[in-house]
């Protein structure tokens, strides 16, 4: 299949178009890095959702819960082990950050497994019920977050090694944003390699195209389903943890708030397409940061505008997947 480069080209075009509007190069660099960082974090949260949809035809409206749970998991570890961060050394910070992120992923993945097993399994193939059931799950689990962690916002101190910024020319670039971009790229590369260069990825892609055929060839598509669901939830947890450290706070409703953006990204990318999701996330991140600078009042609406424009151009998203 030939690669479709046009949507990819839109990203630098958008960035270049913003340059004259922003006016100053250093500001533009700062904004672009911020936009890319935001896009990468959204990508981590959205990739699981779009994969799950592509493979299992399930749109999980409770995906936001995995994001929140990841954030809370990371916050719990970070506040418990906060003492070790006082040293300010990179090694000390990493010794806290890595367990925190691992906890976020593990917690979200376990919840994903439970969710798939208990809630979603009985309603495969019935969209109406899927939407209702996942909404129900959202209500119950959001309340459970209240029970476990309380309803109040938890402030989240960011470890010293990734706070502050460094100066590149005249532009100030926050370290955390660079870290987010790096993590996002690693996740994207890993997903790409797994999907395109391994046997499991081959099965997943085949499952997206034609699940019955994969099953009749003797592979257990059910196991694949569970695996993808758990992996997707774990990614959402990772994204949630990164997002929480970025915002430096955690609230029970944060997952739901981010979920709207995540949905927009999934729609823009084409339901079920990981590559489209990546491009969509970067576009949304850049757009949000540019408009946030140029016209703060429009910032949040700009995503909707972007979605409408993309859908007018390609009604099924940037990279339409067979079934959608």
């Amino acid at each position: 299949m030939k690669t479709d480069w046009i949507p990819l080209a839109v990203i630098p075009l958008l960035a270049l178009a913003a340059l004259p509007l922003v006016g100053s190069v250093p500001t533009w660099v700062t904004l672009t890095v911020a936009g890319l960082a935001m896009g990468m974090m959204i990508f981590m949260m959205a990739s699981g959702l779009t994969l799950v949809f592509g493979l299992m035809d399930v749109m999980n409206f409770a995906h936001g819960i995995f994001i929140s749970v990841g954030a809370y998991g990371a916050a719990t570890v970070l506040t418990r082990m906060g003492a070790q961060m006082q040293g300010g050394t990179l090694a000390g910070d990493l010794s806290v950050m890595l367990p925190a992120v691992a906890a976020a992923i593990a917690l979200a993945a376990v919840m994903g497994w439970f969710f798939e097993r208990v809630l979603i399994r009985p309603v495969y193939g019935d969209h109406l019920k899927q939407i209702l059931i996942t909404m129900g799950g959202l209500i119950v689990f959001e309340q459970l977050i209240h029970v476990v962690w309380g309803a109040d916002m938890i402030p989240l101190p960011r470890p010293g090694a990734i706070t502050g910024s460094f100066i590149l020319g005249d532009a100030a670039i926050e370290r955390y944003r660079v870290a987010a971009v790096v993590v996002g790229l690693v996740v994207f590369a890993a997903l790409w390699i797994i999907l395109n260069r391994t046997r499991i990825g081959l099965l997943v892609r085949a499952g997206v195209e034609n699940p019955e055929m994969v099953e009749s060839l003797g592979y257990r598509i059910r196991r694949l389903f569970v695996g993808v669901f758990v992996a997707g939830s774990g990614l959402a947890g990772l994204g949630g943890a990164m997002w929480a450290m970025y915002q430096e706070q955690v609230t029970p409703a944060m997952g739901m708030q981010v979920l709207v953006v995540v949905f927009i990204v999934v729609i823009i990318g084409g339901l079920g397409s990981v590559g489209g999701c990546f491009v969509g996330a970067l576009l949304v991140g850049l757009m949000a940061n540019y408009t946030g600078f140029l016209a703060p009042k429009l910032a949040l609406g700009s995503n909707i505008l972007l979605m409408v424009l993309v859908l007018l151009w390609r009604p099924r998203g940037l990279y339409p997947v067979g079934k959608a």
Binding site: V123, I133, F263
Partner: protein, 333 residues
């Protein structure tokens, strides 16, 4: 009587008794449950019956999930709110506000419907979620116009200022509109909606245009929600993001329609009554339960008065799995 209910009788003695009790309770609320709080609850029940019934037209009868219902509810509320607070508290501005909000709702519902009802149910659900979120932002950003997070407080025309008159106006309007919705779902048009819900391909093959029917249903539901928004604003004499637009209300609506019973106009009546009463009085009960179990670990937190939504959420999931047509479906069996 049969004509009034459009031939759609309760078909269950228990259900009939409950419905009559709800209606009589609402009609006589100012006299049998005196006090501001209970009158507020009664008015909210009346408004939410209409709101949830109009949502049921969409979810239960047409089989499409929309998350933009609170947006239309909000358009009704803000239409009245903005007109009354900017143009003065006369009948003229009230009518203007109502008609503008109805027209705006209709236009938006039409646009959303034509753009996204061609595609699949999930797509529509996601688009409406995004649009509703956008509208919420809009309402809080345009604070000169909408009062932002504080909302708008306004005065009503002289005649509607008495609480008792206002209550009966709200109740009467909600009843009439509910009966109109009942008429819609029992008309030939409603039958086509049901057939689309049951079997899309077959309905299309018979020659009904899916997009047209779904879009019309979407518009009717939007108008119903707008009317409910108008009534709620009239009752509260206030419009704000938390009373109309918040996503929590959308979740409440979903809970009400599913627990009450999807695809049965009487479901929303039961669901809304149960939910609003629970919202206002269940917490008191849970406070007792939470206090009584204070020695046991975790249980007091789970029974904490603020956790009432947890239990309704569990009930919701159980309903979707085991009682797809909710309480009403159960009673009719």
């Amino acid at each position: 009587m049969k004509r009034l209910l459009s031939g759609d009788l309760p078909r269950s003695k228990v259900l009939a008794v409950i419905l009559v009790l709800v209606f009589l309770g609402l009609a006589a609320a100012p006299f049998i449950f005196p006090g501001t709080r209970s009158l507020n609850v009664a008015a909210k029940v009346a408004v939410f019956i209409l709101l949830v019934a109009s949502y049921d037209l969409l979810l239960g009868y047409t089989g499409i999930v929309s998350f933009a219902h609170t947006m239309f509810f909000g358009i009704g509320g803000y239409g009245v709110g903005i007109a009354m607070s900017k143009l003065g508290s006369g009948w003229g501005s009230l009518l203007l506000g109502i008609s503008i909000s109805l027209v705006v709702s209709l236009a938006i519902a039409l646009a959303i419907g034509l753009l996204s009802l061609r595609v699949r149910a999930i797509f529509f659900a996601m688009i409406t979620l995004a649009v509703a979120a956008f509208f919420q932002i809009l309402a809080s950003q345009l604070s000169d116009f909408t009062g932002g997070e504080d909302g708008l407080t306004f005065l009503l025309p002289e005649l509607l200022r008495g609480r008792l008159t206002a209550y009966y106006v709200v109740l009467a309007a909600a009843t009439v509109l509910f009966l109109a919705l009942l008429r819609v779902v029992n008309s030939p048009f409603g039958r086509v909606l049901l057939s689309i819900r049951e079997n899309e391909f077959r309905s299309e093959a018979i020659g009904y245009r899916l997009v047209t029917y779904r879009t019309v249903a979407n518009c009717l539901a939007a108008l119903g929600a707008t009317a409910a928004g108008v009534l709620y604003a009239l009752w509260l004499r206030y419009t704000g993001p938390d009373t109309t637009l918040s996503f929590n209300i959308m979740i409440d609506i979903l809970l009400m329609v599913v627990i009450g019973g999807m695809g049965t106009m009487y479901g929303p009546v039961l669901g809304a009554t149960l939910f609003v009463v629970a919202q206002n009085y269940l917490q008191d009960l849970m406070k007792l339960a939470s206090g009584a179990t204070s020695g046991i670990p975790l249980l007091p937190q789970v029974l904490h008065p603020d956790r009432w939504l947890l239990w309704l959420g569990v009930l919701f999931i159980v309903c979707v799995y085991y009682f797809p047509s909710g309480i009403v479906g159960r009673l009719r069996r």
